[in-house]
């Protein structure tokens, strides 16, 4: 068994607003092995995007990493200085943003944007080497060489998103964090972008954290699945196991609410609304909506426990 590439330990990220501290990420821990694709799912406000920002050390005031560690390849990113972190980004971990159209500079040609990061990290290249590297990066994401001289507005959404994928792999990082990279794209284009990402993942043995709320996309593309709810981690396991036998009642309801081919016309949502993160429910955060809750659930926070090898769950049903 190899050492995990990424270890998140007791991570807490709070946003300080007038009314108090919003516990966007509350005591989350998990490991990620090298070469594994993990999906991180949750509803809006579950803390999944805050997780991505915390891993990139991009939490801005009034938010703050309150406690915990993000250990990547043996280094705790939370303890790094701003300059050290800048050096780490792109080289060790990179992020693919949600909306490519907002991430690319509209007045800069694609070639310059592709190697801007490398130049900023002090990579010295001759003119020929630059041209060759740009061509290579475009080829990796199935874009034609002529794209180099184009501007972002001349590209379709899928092509733009591929440019951001090329940027993220330009310095061959170990970990890529992709925050809903295909949520703005159509099914066919989504499949193309995911195919590109999968190929690169295999080629370079990357680890990927894919953040999103589309369980269908997750079922089709990740090895492991992590489910967050109201700032806490509910369950982690192999994707297949999670779909076949979800242990946490929240995961069960989430999977039951999905439209599949067999149950046409059945619409089952999860009753109730997500709790306020300013004043989360006592005990288990899900107990207010959980059909299986009992006394203990409102009294004690269920510990996040490994119930089978590689399968973690935070629920009194499985740990009490």
């Amino acid at each position: 068994m190899s050492a995990p590439l990424l270890q998140i330990k007791n991570l807490k990220v709070y946003y300080y607003v007038e009314a108090g501290a919003v516990k966007a990420v509350d005591n989350v821990s998990f490991d990620l092995d090298p070469g594994i694709k993990m999906g991180l799912v949750g509803e809006s406000g579950s803390g999944k995007s805050t997780m991505a920002l915390a891993m990139m050390r991009m939490i801005k005031p009034p938010g703050r990493i309150e406690d915990g560690q993000v250990i990547l390849g043996g280094t705790d990113l939370v303890g790094l200085t701003v300059e050290q972190m800048r050096q780490t980004k792109l080289r060790k971990l990179a992020m693919i943003p949600q909306g490519a159209m907002n991430a690319l500079n509209p007045v800069m040609r694609i070639d310059k944007q592709l190697i801007d990061g490398m130049l900023d990290h002090g990579v010295i290249m001759s003119k020929e080497e630059r041209t060759a590297r740009i061509a290579e990066l475009l080829d990796m994401v199935d874009l034609a060489p002529k794209v180099a001289k184009m501007y972002p507005h001349e590209l379709s959404g899928g092509m733009q998103q591929r440019v951001t994928v090329a940027q993220s792999i330009s310095m061959e990082p170990d970990l890529i964090i992709a925050d809903e990279p295909t949520s703005a794209l159509d099914v066919v284009i989504q499949r193309q972008v995911m195919a590109t990402l999968n190929r690169l993942q295999e080629q370079f043995g990357l680890s990927i954290v894919l953040i999103g709320h589309d369980m269908g996309l997750m079922a089709q593309s990740v090895d492991r699945l992590a489910v967050m709810y109201a700032g806490r981690m509910m369950e982690i396991g192999e994707t297949r196991d999670m779909f076949r036998e979800p242990l946490h009642p929240y995961t069960q309801l989430l999977i039951e609410s999905l439209p599949v081919l067999e149950n046409k016309g059945k619409f089952q949502g999860i009753p109730g609304i997500t709790p306020s993160l300013l004043d989360p429910p006592s005990g288990c955060v899900f107990h207010t909506r959980c059909p299986k809750a009992w006394d203990l659930c409102s009294e004690k926070i269920p510990p996040f426990t490994e119930v089978q090898p590689g399968r973690w769950v935070a629920c009194h049903l499985h740990t009490a």
Binding site: E43, S44, G45, D142, A144, G157, G158, M159, D186, V187, V188, I189, Q190, R191, Q192, A195, H213, D214, M215, G216, L217, M218, A219, Q220, S221, T239, R240, F243, L253, L254, I255, S257, L258, P259, V260, L261, K264, G265, K266, F267, Q268, G269, I270, I273, T274
Partner: protein, 337 residues
Amino acid sequence: MSTPLLELRNVTKIFGSKGNPTVALDDMTLALDENVPKIITVAGESGSGKTTMGMLLLGFYEPTWGQVLFRGRPLSKLKGADLFQFRREIQAVFQDPFAVYNPFYKVDNLLSIPIKNFKLAHSSSEARELMEGALERVGLRPEETLGRYPHQLSGGQRQRIAVARALLLKPKLLITDEPVSMVDASLRSTILKALRGLNQESGTPIFYITHDLTTAYHISDYIIILYRGSVMEAGNVDTIIRNPKHPYTQLLVSSIPWPDPDLAWGGGEEMIQSSQVAFQVITGCRFAPRCPYRMDICDTKPPSLFSLERDHAAACYLYRDNESVVREELASVFVEA
């Protein structure tokens, strides 16, 4: 046959300049009847013309050629009482549950303004009752919703209020453009349930515009697949999702990410790779440049819709031996088989 409620008659919509025109919708004819309480989906990728179709039906766009008719009269010529009737009978629910609200007003406004404008209530207590009733029908508790500002509610709640507003007016047709694409998966089913409920209880036809074939399959009776402004396939949604006939629909259906790890993405790889064809002038079938079954005939002129079954037709020369459906009768495939 009675006059259809809302009708597109040979409608073409072109955007852009003369030198660089983009045909968003190409010679579309479709009649929507208030007496056929079905849910019809229009599906397609970005740029397929599906939103343009909705905008034309709502009167937000003027057709470049052709006519949009409301009860047999051109929409652009409606005035006074007729326009008022159109505004009341045709309702819409849009994609973005944030943009339809004015952040400075309480959400009550979205419900109270139509009550006032259309004089649905005689007293404020009656108005309140109407509002509460509409909210309850979409599964919201009035005491938790009324009196609040938009930012105090979740996206799902806001979108359900938008559906409640549409219910309030007892429309003859509801046009929804991607109503659940910005809402979390767990709330999607609640909104779809509210729409389906409106359709079944009040018999209101719904025109559902989406790029998401999964929700389309679950909510609708019939589906129209659009690609670059033209109809590729139309008919019964179950038939089309389970047994798509047009190569483009086959590609779309094989790319649906079903939430089941055992049901893998597959098929159509060759079409996936060739999607980067530049927007070029196409004289024949719009899909021909990407199609693996391309024949010489495909480049000559766009194929007409060929009938496959009573409630299923595809615009593809692979089926040219079948009888063709008259363009004017696209709606004829949406009849009970």
